[in-house]
Amino acid sequence: MTMIFGVPLAVFMGQLMLGLINGAFYALLSLGLAVIFGLLKIVNFAHGAQYMLGAFAALLGAQYLGINYWLALLLVPLVVGAFGALLERLVLRRIAHLDHLYGLLLTFGLALIFEGSLINLFGVSGASYPIPEALSGGIKLPFMFLPTYRGWVLVAALVVCLGTWFIIERTRLGAYLRAGTENPALMQAFGVNVPLLVTLTYGFGVALAAFAGVLAAPLYPVSPTMGSSLLIVVFAVVVIGGMGSILGAILTGLAMGLIEGLTKVYYPEAANTVIFLVMIMVLMLRPAGLFGKEA
């Protein structure tokens, strides 16, 4: 059997595949954060909670309204995204003129409120969300048994990531967005409704988190705390990629998934810390992040 650093090739390939799948989650979540930070300059600490709300909405929708997975994948991001837009309008806008730190504290507080209320209602054990019929079972790859659903997660996340990148970097709407980031006052003077653009962007970022939540629901127990541990990692990913960089967030997300996956094979004790080590190194060598522009 071919061995790579003492690990059989098949196991090694399998781990790369799993790393890529986790990386797809990181990419999806850090993309939402990057979009929000890019335009609103808000460090959205409620992102993990919004991801969790997405998973919960899918679970409760299935339990009480009979909404199936595919419908949830479409509806939940819309609903949670609209909720996000409402938050921006009612709460975040009031502190838009203040230092970034206030936005961070406010969104962190909101996240604690969401989590705390759901813990009170449902406890922390969580509940299972069934894998949709069409995606159950697995595919026998030459090097591993890949559950179909995980393959689907990889494809879906990549499609949404690339779609977002395309909209922001290659369309007229995206051009408005980027211009609004550079100089909102001038955009307003040209007759673009910048406040609306800001609300919709925040809503879109939140919708991305909720979409990731629905994707995650069949994989992990749906519980109120599912977002908080992920959030810190995702922030590290955004910092490594460069705050506000769209492509940076996607590529870094995938890369960090791979690095974490390999750590789980070679030194599992460090699996939770390796991304932060990378972050420290990047901050020392390139403080603006791998893909960020030096200010």
Binding site: S125, S128, M144, P147, T225, M226, G261, K264, E269
Partner: protein, 415 residues
């Protein structure tokens, strides 16, 4: 207690009025005391547990409710003194737990610390109590090291520990032919203790440990570890973790078809709430060791139903143990007529414990409460008659066989 220290005559003059007032107040309070032997005229119980994190549902607010039930059933007072209950969230952090308990003992004169889940927290807290003087009854923690190398005269370990978990489940699995193991271990005190107890039982019974992985606590994605377990070729994948880690590992294993490929899972610490959360479809046939099950007999059912009416969920063994141990503590305190920790601790060890929770229970000199344990199998969905009808008790492991014998103990209190 209010004490006024005067470091200089000027300061003393300035605070003269205050000092007089304080002294008068104290005099009045002590003359009003019902019982001089009870410090402050009140028995104070502090409940420390994970109230918001991964271990919330196995003890948490439900355990606090069980504690309050015990106090109410006892009549709300003991030896003529009222009972007051405090609670705090340790957030699974040894620092937070130790600092909270230090505050309780120094400032509030807490008589008993109850609850306690994460083993790392319990070990830190009992060190504080050993220095400061106090008593703890640990119900939630698993590490057998708590009454072995970490034993103190200031704590009792009540419900279960990793030794009977290994002795019950691992032994049964090896006897059924599962003789090669891959260990998936939570990387902290409890996981290490369980791993070493399991490895001992497996090798003593003729099995082998092929490989092990230690995963960070807590972990949400187990796919990588499950893949490594699949690659190991071991017959049994032993889960030396707890709470959401175990739940995640079992779910992931079922998605990756671990059991279809001929391997079998051995969950070593699984609580009722875990099985309830995962559902019988995923967990059926799983063997586990438990210190108590609500549907064991009439006595346990009767108590569990009272608990259910208050909390809306069936109690775990930990929550039942909190009720039982609190009641035992209050009885011992009443018999001793004092809340002095050492006296109550000695009293607790005198008589065997038999109630709805413990059978053939005895608190040993190392602080271990040994009692009968049970090997249970998770029911198939078709055999379950209700939401909480989850286990079938298969065998009783007698108290003297279940726990680490004193002859193997490395506790400093055992000669």
């Amino acid at each position: 207690m209010t004490k006024v220290h005067a470091s200089s005559p000027r300061l003393a003059r300035r605070h003269l009025a205050l000092a007089v007032a304080a002294a008068t107040g104290l005099g009045l309070a002590s003359s009003a005391m019902a019982q001089d032997a009870i410090s402050d005229g009140e028995v104070r119980i502090g409940y420390l547990a994970d109230m918001s994190g991964t271990y919330r549902d196995l003890a948490g607010p439900g355990g606090l409710e069980a504690l309050k039930m015990a106090v109410e059933d006892f009549g709300g007072e003991v030896a003529g003194a009222p009972i007051e209950v405090f609670s705090a969230d340790d957030r699974n952090s040894a620092d937070v737990g130790a600092n909270t308990v230090r505050g309780w003992v120094d400032q509030q004169n807490v008589d008993l610390v109850a609850g306690m889940v994460a083993s790392s927290v319990s070990i830190a807290v009992t060190k504080v109590l050993e220095e400061a003087g106090g008593l703890a009854i640990i119900s939630g923690s698993a590490a057998s090291s708590i009454t072995n190398e970490h034993c103190t005269p200031n704590h009792i370990h009540y419900v279960y520990d990793t030794y009977p978990l290994a002795n019950g489940t691992a032994k049964a699995v090896v006897e059924q032919g599962g003789d090669s193991w891959f260990m998936l271990t939570a990387d902290y005190a409890f996981g290490h203790a369980l791993e070493s107890d399991v490895e001992k039982v497996v090798t003593d019974n003729g099995g082998t440990i092929i490989d092990r992985v230690r995963h960070p606590f807590p972990t949400s994605d187990f796919s990588s570890y499950i893949l490594q377990a699949q690659g190991s070729g071991a017959k049994i994948v032993g889960l030396a973790n707890a709470g959401s880690d175990t739940v995640n590992a079992i779910k992931t294993a079922s998605q990756f078809g671990l059991t279809q490929s001929g391997q079998q899972l051995a969950g070593l610490l699984i609580f009722l709430n875990d099985v309830h959360a995962m559902g019988l479809e995923t967990t059926q046939g799983l063997l586990l060791t438990t210190g108590w099950y609500w549907d064991m007999d009439d006595e346990s059912r009767e108590w569990a139903e009272r608990y259910f009416e208050r909390v809306g969920k069936m109690p775990t063994m930990v929550q039942a143990g909190i009720y039982s141990s609190t009641t035992q503590y209050l009885k011992a305190l009443e018999d001793a007529g004092t809340d002095d920790p050492a006296t109550v601790r000695a009293k607790l060890g005198e008589a065997p414990i038999n109630d709805f929770f413990a059978r053939n229970g005895q608190i040993r000199e190392d602080g271990r409460m040994v009692h009968d344990m049970y090997l249970a199998e998770v029911k198939a969905p078709a055999d379950s008659e209700g939401e909480w009808d989850l286990y079938e008790i298969q065998a009783t492991i007698p108290a003297e066989e279940a726990y680490r014998p004193l002859s193997e103990s490395s506790c400093k209190l055992v000669n």
